[in-house]
Symmetry: C2
Amino acid sequence: MPALPLTDFSRLCVHTITTRPWSIEEAGERYAAAEVKGITVWRQWLEGRDVAIAGQRLREAGLEIVSLCRGGFFPAEDALGLQQAIDDNLRTIDDAAALGAPLVVLVCGALPGQPLDESRRQIADGIAAVLDHARAADVKLAVEPLHPMYADSRSAVNTMRQANDLCDQLDSPAVGVAVDVYHLWWDPELKTEIERCGRAGRIFAFHVCDWRTPTEDLLNDRDLMGEGCINLPQIRGWVEDNDFDGFIEVEIFSNRYWAMDQDRFLEMIKDAYLRKL
Amino acid sequence: MPALPLTDFSRLCVHTITTRPWSIEEAGERYAAAEVKGITVWRQWLEGRDVAIAGQRLREAGLEIVSLCRGGFFPAEDALGLQQAIDDNLRTIDDAAALGAPLVVLVCGALPGQPLDESRRQIADGIAAVLDHARAADVKLAVEPLHPMYADSRSAVNTMRQANDLCDQLDSPAVGVAVDVYHLWWDPELKTEIERCGRAGRIFAFHVCDWRTPTEDLLNDRDLMGEGCINLPQIRGWVEDNDFDGFIEVEIFSNRYWAMDQDRFLEMIKDAYLRKL
């Protein structure tokens, strides 16, 4: 059944990329002041910072660090590239541990010149190669299926079914799925594959925004929840009916919203969170 | 296995929208002069024409009319809208018969404000409502699954599996599928669902172009075959291994290519047809 309305902000998490004009320090301060409870940190927000100190400051501000975005991009043209991708993911796991983030979200990767089957094999091999390191660091990995319009260059994993199959193959308690409504809302199998994911205890994250009509940019034209066509209460209901009670993460890439006053945008996010989810 | 290279233009069909600057009369003349054998007519090219005469002229020029694009857009907000959609499809079938096109391609439709399940029911009901008329007119209907990035407003049918399921449900020799590589190339189930479609004798059309990286417009930034990331020989092989030996239809929406000399573009299409498919 559709989810019941949310009545407070105890499960609200915002991604630093949602308020792109703000540095990590500004985001931490403004989110906390706005009663946002969780933060997901995009890796580029840590550039030039001591990661452990950055994490400590966010926690001192009262925020819970939900995840680090993003690892992945495993496919490569040659052995050197594959190894570099693995090394980069090992460093990302180290960063997550230093930051105090329990989860790394994986945008799995794809190469325009390479068959999808091959990229999919490289993704499975790449995750397998970093699994021991993740477990030792007590960091989990969430495969995020990306919308098929990103299959050329961002991810060869494009449906919940594929993500579930990949998790079955890897068969590790450290590997689950990040369910993002933007990527998955259209899929006729979404409900049954969320159920499958939930039964396996693998719903590790839940990302929300909305699909704008017309979408004018493939990357940066996502909409605020309730402004687009995604049936958000229905999908949140499916996720919550299948054992997910974690943070609801607002991840909006949008040239439109980035251009406005970010404090005002954060208020709009909070309002939509209570009224549209 | 990948398809063998094509050695002549006996199966080459071009959609009038591919050479958008040309009227139907110009397209007919130029295609024939260029040894293109088939033409698929987009409905707006018939505006202000006597449809039967337009068809006769294309045949006299030596062209075979492959299909009429497009019917569909069945979903609507109310009973009046649903009936108007059905009436419009009945007229499209009449136009196809008058033109001498054996097939109407269906872009099934979607409404941004309506749950996909509801749109999918309306699509099935809408096709069922025009089936008798199509059979009486000796016109077949091809459901074209559209890329998931069009699920908001153009089609709630987004995978081969859905199209196959819909055909099973309608269970009529007049209803099959138009396989378009642009919409379907990313799908991990594409091979098995093409096999399923072929076993049922339902591969009614095959459309080609390519996926450009980066794609800068959701509608009009398709690429010429061989310039993008789609494994065209592989997909053509799957279609031909499953009993399809019909026209290979070049359908390219592209602001870039429409801006160039269309005779030159047609030569590029022919070259790509022989070398990249």
